[in-house]
Homo-oligomer: 280 residues x 4
């Protein structure tokens, strides 16, 4: 199967690079520099999305939002160029409702769609250890499972189309809430004279332990805040989760509170703000 | 140093039993059955708190609330019976503000006070692996450190008097928030067709991992909800944390939300309600 | 201008009835009983939406949701039957984003769209005192203003298409929050021995006065809870407001809290639940 | 009955001035300037609180917090100087739990206590139109009712001692929540292009109407934000309300959210911050 990759940002670029390790990949991005980097690593550049569609059996996409996926597929010729029987694999942290709608449209043309967002960073992607959350028809997933295995052995079958993205939203919303709960608890301790290092030791030994206390709290205690917690990236996913909760009839009170606090901070501090800038 | 233990409930009883392993302990509780159990294990029963005070150099207390500690010390004769130089060690999950006030009153009589609540269950207490969070004057803690070591090697010096209890409130508030964030996220997944077992696997492999996802989620997936999450126990500690936050000028928005949701559920479901009964 | 009215539920029926007072109206509803009532009052029944479109210059719609408006217009022939220059007036408490999208589609066919939801009950609608919040192009609104005046003199020009619905969502979200704030405050008073009648007197004389304290609190004090506060109706509008807030980058923390509490109560109590059933 | 007034700040000063209109008043404050102003208006200055206690049958207090009332009564000689049968009337926006405790201590000395906080500003106090919320024993209130009538005819009997302060906390918490709900709703409207003046008109005509929309929104629309909404004054009362809610087992979710948002803003903006500075 001829493989293509659309969207060579931080994550998409790393995932395409990983795929390149074990076989040829055709790539496309509006950013010429990102394309050049991949070509240098051995990839073939597609001149446009129509050419990409014509040249591939399986096309991955990793774009900022589902609306970008929709535009790539339906406004810029990708869907029209794909043959019946082709598979589109969306690795965007997207909106599962939108993804289900696109899958239905593609299905009418005989094109399969799978959603497969990832959890972890670019480093894990290149190292082949990233977690892949997969949604789609079981037989279609089985048909491309070998390609997923080339990315990472850690893939999780989450359910029907959209289920991978739902899973990712849930994961990111919970981890965001865990971070806020940790930060506000630690703020309470600091106001009462407790040392960050002591709190880090105790929380990591006790019932409050989480990825947030393990990864973020020791860094905070050492005065080295992790710079990757851009508010707006966290906000994007939690926004999607709260919208899904509204559609699904789920309260999601903690997620909503996180959303409101991040949106207020983003309005106040600007789009480049970091989680640690909230600092109330 | 002659050691006494007041309050032989689930935690206090286990801690006293642990101390008994390495030396004599005088015990007191209003519940005759609890006293008899400890006596059978080798402890000496004190007929009342005045006798306890007269017989001991170091008296531990582990009671439901700080007001019970106050009553034991000042209304039922314990403080009057203690000699100057004696040490009171409060293992109650109490109110640090109250504890500081009691410590000041005792100090005027030459009696030292240390707070040393624990994190973990009765099983860990008896096994000698429980975490002890200690607050008080460094020299007084050093003087009794060998006794703490008899309970468990896992003790944490948190700061001045009350700091152990502050640490415990923070730990329990964060862990409560982590549980709620996990439960509401999982509810969102279930409404969207995701399987509990799959969610447990993914969350435990990803950024949302916490003690809650490790201990509680697999049990939920197996249909065996852990029965120890009594709402009112969690509510008591989170109530204390939000009060401390108010006194300290800290927002604690997630803790407040958890408090409100637990209080509403407790009003609706009664004091014996379990976290899983909330079920919205 | 020949006028049509689609959707003869409680509000739509009352509004159509009000229009009938001052001129002929063609009506349509899937509920034959609702149509028969209006016909008895002097209206003409359209056999279907295509006939309605062919027979009218101005068609009002008042339906449960924007998706029903979309279906009426585009799936059941209304838009195809309308002539260029016709005006669609949507009185649904709908989703302004959806409304803007439909307006754009209609505009390409030369059909104008105005949104004009109302605030107040069926009684005010029939009495001609209801408030109408209007969004759309100023010249199109001016062209149909005489028809709005036949409904009520209380119309408010809110801005471009969708602005009337935005205004309504804001009004309903604020009033929902005011009700919750009042109810929880009153619950605090009752737990502390205060009488409902006294609280009603004081709150209505003080800074806490609102429509909620004026209309709902005296009824509560008299043991006559107003039966019209169906949770799910309130929830529908607050859901739309929180979605709009997410799209608009506004925190809306109180609205989100109200949404979460209503959704939890609705899940617990069923769709017919009343605001007063929450009762925590 | 000889009347004294302790605490001549903005509110206390205005209330003492109002009492002076209809009879003699002895006054005390640590601020010499405030005392001089009242003396110039005809009041008699007490040299200290002991002299005040010796000279009066009824002593009003209006101080920042209940702890100031406690200090005046028990640390600075007021209670010792009062005769059995005297009445202390606390007009502080205080902590009802503290007030009940002080009343019990005074009662043992034969001194009566009534709480009587007010709602309204200094202008209303001087004009004799302010609302007084009264808690205490019915016969003791009856004995001093003529004095309350000299302040204003608008007095409300709320219940036993502390009930006046509970009533005030409830009123202020609800009005704070109404303000936040209004401000965030209006922010949503502005982001969607709605005009402040239009929103003011519609909200004041609809279900969202409240004291906040009537008094604050037109001022906002005119670009004249009311400068009296100091965050820290609002925060103080809402803090007391949430503490009372914790003690009373009431969720008070909206009040908690308001508290958290105000505390975060106060930490960020400083103690002189105004409600409008929040501006998220």
């Amino acid at each position: 199967m001829r493989i293509g990759y659309v969207g060579l940002g931080v994550m998409g670029g790393a995932l395409a690079r990983r795929l390149l390790v074990s076989g040829p990949v055709t790539v496309f991005d509006l950013n010429a520099r990102a394309v050049a980097d991949l070509v240098e690593a051995g990839a073939t550049a597609a001149p446009d999305l129509a050419a990409m569609g014509a040249a591939c059996d399986v096309v991955f996409l990793c774009l900022p939002r589902s609306e970008n996926v929709r535009a790539a597929l339906f406004d810029h010729g990708l869907a029209d160029a794909l043959r019946p029987g082709a598979t589109v694999i969306d690795q965007t942290s997207g909106d599962p409702t939108e993804t289900r709608a696109m899958a239905e449209t593609l299905s009418a043309r005989g094109i399969h769609m799978i959603d497969a967002p990832v959890s972890g960073g670019a480093k894990e992607a290149e190292a082949g250890t990233i977690a892949i959350m997969i949604g789609g028809a079981a037989d279609r997933i089985a048909a491309v499972q070998p390609i997923f295995d080339r990315i990472s052995p850690n893939s999780y079958l989450c359910g029907a189309i959209g289920a991978g993205q739902v899973m990712k939203l849930i994961n990111n919303t919970i981890s965001t809430c865990n971070r806020f709960a940790m930060l506000e608890g630690v703020a309470l301790g600091m106001r009462n004279g407790l040392d960050l290092g002591v709190m880090s030791d105790v929380l990591n030994a006790g019932g409050a332990r989480s990825k947030a206390t393990e990864a973020m709290l020791p860094a905070l205690a050492d005065g080295v805040p992790d710079s990757f917690f851009y508010l707006n990236l966290m906000l994007k996913d939690v926004n999607l989760a709260t919208q899904l909760a509204t559609q699904s009839g789920v309260p999601l009170q903690f997620g909503q509170l996180a959303r409101g606090m991040m949106q207020a901070a983003s309005n106040r501090l600007g789009p480049q703000a970091n989680l640690f800038d909230i600092g109330d």
